[in-house]
Symmetry: C2
Subunit: 756 residues, 2 copies
């Protein structure tokens, strides 16, 4: 079928009006269809109402609504009914997932003095929902190993690998110890993972007031920052290995799915782990001896931060009910017309750790207003070409459960139908943050230029540019002045886009406003309506901006004549990644060589201070030169192919006024769009990443030791970072193959579009 | 006379054995004289005894001994007698100086709540001298303007000019306000100066626990850091305008000196100023409202640091007795032999703010042991060529009074006789820090290579190299591996070298060990014998190392055949300064142009957050291109002259085995040495720096807005930093003239040494 179409196009070589011939024409539209689109967008943007978002937030965050809670189900049903009331088809899709909840939690110092942490967040009188104790999950982290351990305490800063290198320099081992790490510096699940790799037997994680407490502003309820009893809940499953239900990696957690037995699940922490408040952490940290930590490790508590180990000895107990709970994913649809088999997907989760007004309701209420507005347009006669799917995910907090199980369940359909996935999560006041696939970079820049910042009265694109011009490096300033599109960051993990992009190869974007207000209530009982309406986007005008932004993106993707991917942005970005890898290799080489030389010269022994002894690092092997040629060749191919594609795309094919019959033209465009759906898939590999095959994208993955933070070209980058030199060339070849597949597809598409 | 000698040398062109022909030969010595010198040095280094230093510290720090105190005089007499007992000529030289002492001190918050600061440091039981209240000067800063003011409080971070730019960005003025600044970031006297320039009416300075309190370690008496009641005293006179007695700028404060009336003294602060503890600062800072400060401004207190202004309103009173007090400088001499008219000068102050075990007694006890050891050598038959002058200065703390008045009094003699001045002040455990004149850089590197680190069992030169190889930048590592000599930093201000180098043009070095122990007792009652012998160089082995280092330097300067200045090091360093100035101009240009462009583009308005409004900076004029040619030409001349000098110096003149008569040779060497005395003087200008003529050196001065921190080529550098573009070319010419004078002198000396 596809082959036939290609031949047809090659034979006809139509002369048509160009796409995006002027700046008013939206990419992927003709001037004519663009005018129509703009009219509908203009109507659309006037519909979302801040007042409705406020009321929806009040309703959705009125009670704790974590996975398995009564209000979680109630909310899902209410959301489903809202969609239905907007004119959408909407249903709830269920999955059954492993979701441990706390049965026993204990943290106490047993010597040299005794202290028992209370491990609870107190009710605050002015805040009406903070005291819903019966419905709340108490502070804990999900997927911590059960355990009852006692050991000396060691402070490990953020608990990332570099911190353990610093500990080694001081001769400090965490073997048999309980570590205490600050929140931040990585995704929380990295901390117990790295601690266990180094032999620790338990892990405490606390919120340091220097990061989101009084150091940044008044604490709740006087201000938005974390009070001394506030605790950050969260998941500590090994998400960088795979997200979703730990028992059903790679397949949907449907009723009948084959499940791993609990003892074969690899993503549960190896050691018991608990989160604590800084009020509880202070006596523990103050009881440590040993050398004072380096200045970069210090937090905001009025104590001397020391490494330990001990003399503080800590006893901790974690026991969970290892329940299976039901997820309630709300899936709503607006069917498409001429291209109904192509799905534009949009999502935000609805579950929270407690009341979750900011996380996730601030994003969800924008999504609901988008849905209401789109339903309104349909009533007014709007007919999107493509099918629009809006999801309200359950179980994001414990590990992206609802989205992952849905993607795994519907993998085959998505491979065939999915155009793109647009995610949001929390929302606040400030700048539009965009992360995503680089084939969508040009597209989302176009959207960004058409959304007004509600406070600054310029486009959010212009405001983002101004931020870089105010605070960027000279290189960033030059780049943002000279480059047609603002760069978007690649996606790591931490919200529901992960399975779409990194498992299923669906181009994804993550959108959210923020950056102007500090807050310290993340994943605590104080993330609620009172907090949000006092300290964040209190007028919900940035909520409306998010609805306008994501909704406009959805509309354009749903109605574009040709799906507006841009491969030039991808090729150029991929080239920067290759340059980074080359530099990373050289930097690692220089660092290791320098350290080895310093070891040989006796530098470490010579600077040793007998009162604060330090230990020389071990010699390491320097990296060989790697063969980057396959990758550079692949990027060159992609660059050439994208240039051909862009020439064909903008200088005219398949528009109105063609000599070919309309039906022939439509078929050709349909075929091109169908094949464009494979553009992100082409960069995945069915084998996935080494050691974590769930992650199939060769360009983007969460870092194995960062979690939230992305590693681009992860196979090669992590091999270089981790010093497994022998793997690098092979990984380069695999990434090059992915980019070559992309180049081949793009080149063929360019031909189909009439490029010579 | 000189001309005759030159002719004589030109006529004879002697063939002699070279200086420093091998690494065992000390620069400035012949192989033969070097062997003799090494024998004496070896004897010398074995004499200083840690136990004697400990006992001397116990005695000298037994009571408070600030200027005007009974024990200050007692100590001076005891030091004089010690010198005499070592076989030196020793006397006390007196000066009468303005030294205000506190009569009334008050700091209280009058609204929104009331709080009265206690302004006193408490006795600590285990510390026997901390309770000598009757003899102590209470916490204050000397040369604060008297005043009784009330105003809203504003937190200004370190209170340096860049901090006021940040305040302006936030729309905050200090006009009519009392500022509170952290210690650090500049010399303390800068803080009230800059505050007054911006319209403040009072200035509080406090020691933040993030800088020398609990953040770094246990506080005294459990550890070495500053306890909550500890206060840093100090001088706040405008030292960068001129140091020494405020009433007698430029002349010695002898009995009959002409004195400025008090109301004409320009170096007293314009606003009342007081130092306070962090215990007293915390309630004041916690009572500020306004925006939270940027992260770089935060300190270690468990509060939200805010700018203010207010609502905290503070009332402060400072009244002093504006006394004249007598200084007791101890001046001791070992007369030289063949070159007795050439003086090698060494000094350390003896006055303290309170008991001052670390500052200054730790340095002084090393100096005393050097003196004892040198006296011992003389008894054994050692005959230094040159006269050695050892000084124990009084009045350093209030403003380098004793050294400055002595230098001003003896200006003519010093211009004729001074070879070099070697200073020390406090001493501790760790690395040898060296700052000084670059004509002494090669010389002091030679000394450094011959001193053993008492704990690391390598030379202190090697240990300093290892420190850079451990922690330096790649450029610094390369430099320290490739360059023959380790770089020494230029001298700013803060100890008694200032008048020697910057007023009188005498090459100077400042030497001291440190860097391995933190401490927080600086200028408090807790800087005493108990603290020092528990937390610093407790075994006094680094005290011995300082005695060995400074003593060896003195011996070499006193006995070298040719004074071992090196002009190549100076020329190369001067070239780096020119490069820095060129870069500084370009950087300032880029910054100002970028800011102007951003203003034009509306960047500041666009990023403005209505909840945290900021204000665009004012447009500034970009710098024109400056004419660096005179400076580059002067450096080129100096480079050529130094190369000729070095060739002549190392490839042999005026040594043994010459055909000329010994007397002719001696006269020639004497003449060269006499003219070498002018090598640093040549770089001074009698007009001095613009606006502060006391500072005559064209290469080195304390920064007008840094105090401690040096500004090299200060005339040009500060004109560029401060944006007074029209002054830069003129300043470049003045610096170039100084370097040209140097080049001319060096070139003539090279000729005298036989260079072609």
């Amino acid at each position: 079928m596809r082959v036939a179409v290609i031949s047809l196009l090659a034979a006809t070589t139509l002369a048509m009006t160009p796409f995006a011939a002027d700046t008013d024409t939206i990419r992927g539209f003709t001037p004519e269809s663009s005018r129509i689109e703009r009219d509908w967008e203009s109507k659309f943007k006037s519909i979302p109402e801040p007042g409705r978002m406020r009321e929806a937030m009040r309703r959705l965050s009125a009670h704790p609504h974590h996975v398995g809670s009564a209000y979680d189900k109630t909310n899902a049903e209410w959301i489903r009914d809202q969609f239905r009331s907007y004119g959408w088809q909407a249903d709830i899709e269920n999955f059954d997932v492993l979701f441990p909840t706390p049965k026993e939690r204990l943290v106490e110092m047993v010597s040299p003095t005794t202290f028992k942490a209370d491990l609870n967040e107190k009710k605050i009188d002015v805040d009406p929902t903070s005291g819903q104790t019966d419905e709340q999950l108490p502070p804990y982290v999900a997927y911590s190993h059960d355990g009852d351990v006692t050991g000396p305490l060691v402070f490990v800063n953020y608990g990332v690998p570099a911190d353990y290198e610093e500990l080694e320099r001081h001769g400090i081992s965490v073997k048999g110890a309980i570590v205490i790490a600050k929140y931040g510096g990585s995704w929380r699940g990295i901390k117990p993972k790295v601690a266990a790799e180094h032999g620790a037997i338990g892990c405490l994680i606390y919120s340091d007031p220097g990061n989101d407490g009084y150091a940044l502003g008044d604490v709740f309820p006087k201000g938005p920052m974390r009070p001394s009893q506030g605790v950050q809940r969260g998941s500590v499953a090994d998400m960088p290995t795979y997200p979703g239900d730990p028992m059903t990696p790679g397949v949907g957690a449907t009723k009948d799915a084959k499940r791993l037995p609990l003892d074969q699940v690899t993503t549960i922490t190896k050691i018991p782990t608990l989160p604590i408040s800084y009020g509880n952490a202070q006596p523990l940290l103050a009881a440590l001896s040993g050398a004072a930590v380096p200045s970069a490790w210090r937090g905001g508590l009025p104590i001397t931060y020391r490494f330990g180990p001990g003399p503080a000895k800590v006893h901790m107990v974690v026991k969970s009910d290892w329940n299976t709970r039901t997820l309630y994913d709300v899936i709503a649809k607006l069917p498409g017309t001429t291209e109904a088999s192509q799905w534009v997907i949009r999502g935000n989760h609805h579950d929270a750790w407690v009341n979750g007004a900011e996380d996730p309701i601030s994003g969800l209420v924008a999504e609901l207003e988008e849905a209401r507005a789109l339903g309104e347009l349909v009533k007014q006669g709007w007919k999107p070409k493509r099918t629009i799917v809006y999801a309200a995910w359950d179980g994001e907090e414990p590990g992206l459960l609802g989205s992952t199980e849905w993607v795994e369940t519907h993998g085959d359909e998505l491979a065939q139908h999915a155009v793109a996935y647009i995610n949001s999560d929390t929302n606040g006041r400030g700048y539009l943050d965009i992360e995503g696939s680089h084939i969508l970079e040009k597209f989302i820049n176009g959207v960004e230029k058409d959304i007004q910042d509600p406070e600054a009265n310029v486009s959010v694109w212009k405001r983002n540019q101004a931020r870089t011009l105010r605070s960027g490096t000279p290189e960033e300033k030059k780049d943002i002045r000279d480059r047609e599109d603002q760069r978007i960051d690649a996606l790591g993990s931490g919200s529901d886009y992960s399975s779409f992009l990194q498992h299923a190869g669906i181009p994804a974007l993550n959108l959210g406003y923020g950056g102007e207000d500090n807050g310290g209530i993340y994943h605590s009982v104080y993330d609620d309506f009172y907090w949000y309406t006092h300290f964040s986007d209190t007028s919900f005008v940035y909520g409306r901006a998010l609805a306008q932004t994501a909704g406009t993106a959805v509309m354009r993707l749903a109605s574009a004549d040709v799906i507006p991917f841009s491969f030039g942005n991808l090729a150029e970005t991929a080239r920067t990644y290759v340059t980074q890898l080359q530099k990373l290799r050289d930097t690692r080489n220089d660092q290791i060589a320098e350290t080895n030389r310093a070891i040989d010269e006796g530098v470490y022994a010579t600077v040793n201070d007998p009162r604060q002894p330090t230990i020389a690092p071990a010699r390491r092997e320097t990296p060989p030169q790697f063969n980057f040629a396959p990758l550079l060749n692949a990027v060159d191919s992609l660059t050439r192919a994208s240039a051909r594609y862009d020439r064909a795309f903008s200088s005219g094919t398949m528009s109105a006024g063609a000599s070919a019959a309309v039906s022939t033209r439509s078929a050709a465009i349909h075929s091109i769009n169908e094949r464009l759906l494979q553009a992100e898939r082409a960069m995945t590999s069915s084998e996935g990443l080494k050691g974590r095959p769930w992650y199939r994208h060769m360009l983007y993955a969460p870092g194995f030791y960062t979690g939230y933070g992305v590693k681009t070209m992860p196979g090669a980058r992590e091999a270089i970072e981790q010093g497994t030199w022998s793997e690098v060339d092979g990984e380069i070849v695999r990434i090059a193959a992915a980019l070559t597949r992309e180049a081949t597809l793009v080149s063929q598409l360019a031909g189909d579009l009439g490029a010579r």
